[in-house]
Amino acid sequence: MRRRVLPGLTLSLGITLFYVGLIVALPLGALIFKAASLGPDDYWRIVSSGRAVASYRVTILCAAGATAFNLVFGLALAWVLVRYSFPGRRIIDAIIDLPFALPTAVAGIALTTLFAQNGWFGSWLAEAGIRVAYTPLGIMIAMAFTSLPFIVRTVQPVLEDLDPALEEAAQSLGGSDLAIFRKVILPLLVPALLAGVSLAFARSLGEFGAIIFIAGNQPFETEITALLAFIRLEEYDYQAAAAIASVMLIAAFVMLAITNLLQARALRYTGRS
């Protein structure tokens, strides 16, 4: 270990630990404590109730659908931004971050207005017999919007740094474009894609603001878990709110562990030595 010459360890670490303790650890600890004080029977009864399980199903399925969409769209977007130059490319590169910068409630009312029966897109889709607003499809669109930047931003730098020699070698061996993409390029992108997918999926699981406007919020049909926790709170059923929130917290920790693992793996496999 090196000799410590810089000052400020006590002060900076003190501030950090105090802040993390007060702002992050204390509330999460209080939530876990509250949920744990329920006792196993009550806890299980609440988190496995029909309405709660239905909300997990809606949340997970819609998050999976939104992530699958973003996997395709995000990959295409990253590809187009890195490999082609065309007018407006830089504007698109910048505007991709809009879902991160735009408040979720604003995104929620904007998407609802667009996809409602009388909206710009909703009226076309209604003629085709597709309802988006107030259905799981609407939840998926809201989730796809808020998690859009994750996959683009994890794939983009890997694609930028891809060694052209690999493709050229494959081309000189007579591979078709599609074959080279599938067998040479895609495998190199897989770690970044996986990391992006887990980030996008985790974000979709916890999203609230953008979804509640477009979802319709019918119990068992279009009610996401975050909303159920919120409703229990408004009903002053604090125990149920604590239990359901703790399930979401556990899911968040699992996703955090998976994301860290995937990112570490991606760094190891694609890091240039």
Partner: protein
């Protein structure tokens, strides 16, 4: 780079005009539907009854109070968060101590926790059912359903923003300059302000800009702890929801348009700061650690 060199070579994968054009068309079309259309519809709705109705909504006392609440929250939460971010980055990048990696993970936790969970968690600290609730009520201190609760919840959701920008950059810059400065007799503060700060200023500003955007736009966590009292504890995003559910669509979009302008300004600032080397350029990407990424950029 070596674009000139590449010119004489055969086209790369996906360079055939048909592939190129259809991919660009797919991306532009989907992007227009999913990202540009929401942006347009906000302003179209906000001005659908003309400029006067828009101005009336903005000038309404409830809207003005919501703007005040949002600005006040940001004025308290962002500086505190910035100080924390700098302190955390200094501790983590300049020293070795046990549990450092755990600390880095704990700082990142708010990113993966749903804002609703954050709000609920704060209720169980400062609410009447919470740890400190009864004591706070006895002392007549109001935290929840008031500005302090909104500020605390906002600080939770944005806790990692500044630290996340600074840690990889300061890690890459190492400790040599600071060690040289202190060994020449500079105090710790002097070292920070005249050696470290000039090197991290753009990344710091970048973190502050993103933190501010999130604080001003936070909805889920704040809606749990604010109590939604009209003209008292409504921030701008909550005010948007309230007007929308009151079927005052034009008013909701007028209020939303202020937040949208903020988002657009944030993105422009972000692009400008990225040109200064902040953000994406200094963050370790999946393609390689920060130092290497920096070297490849001209």
């Amino acid at each position: 780079m070596d674009r000139a060199l590449r010119k004489g070579r055969p086209p790369r994968v996906g360079d055939r005009p048909a592939v190129r054009r259809s991919l660009i068309a797919f991306v532009l079309l989907t992007g227009a539907v999913l990202v540009v259309a929401p942006l347009v519809v906000i302003f179209a709705q906000a001005f659908s009854k003309g400029w006067n109705t828009f101005a009336e909504t903005i000038a309404h006392p409830d809207t003005r109070h919501a703007i005040f609440m949002t600005v006040a929250t940001a004025l308290i939460a962002v500086p505190i968060n910035t100080a924390f971010g700098v302190a955390a980055a200094w501790a983590i990048t300049k020293f070795e101590f046990p549990g450092k990696r755990l600390l880095v993970v704990v700082i990142e936790i708010p990113f993966s926790v749903s804002p609703i969970v954050a709000g609920v968690a704060y209720l169980f600290v400062y609410g009447l059912q919470g740890v400190f609730g009864p004591a706070l009520q006895a002392a007549d201190i109001k935290i929840l359903f008031a500005l302090p609760g909104i500020v605390l919840a906002s600080m939770f959701v944005t806790a990692p923003f500044v630290a996340r920008e600074l840690i990889p950059l300061m890690q890459a810059q190492g400790r040599d300059l600071e060690e040289a400065a202190t060994s020449l007799g500079a105090s710790g503060w002097r070292t920070f302000f005249s050696v470290t700060l000039p090197n991290i200023r753009w990344a710091l500003l970048y973190g502050v800009v993103l933190c501010n955007a999130r604080v001003m736009g936070e909805f889920g966590a704040v809606s749990v702890v604010s109590g939604n009292i009209r003209g008292q504890t409504n921030t701008l995003p909550l005010h948007v929801e309230l007007l929308y559910h009151d079927y005052q669509t034009v008013g909701a979009f007028a209020a939303a348009s202020i937040l949208t302008v903020l988002a657009v300004v944030t993105i422009v600032a972000k692009v400008m700061l990225e040109r200064q080397g902040a953000g994406r350029a200094s963050r370790p990407t999946l393609a390689g650690p920060a130092v290497e990424a920096k070297e490849t950029r001209p």
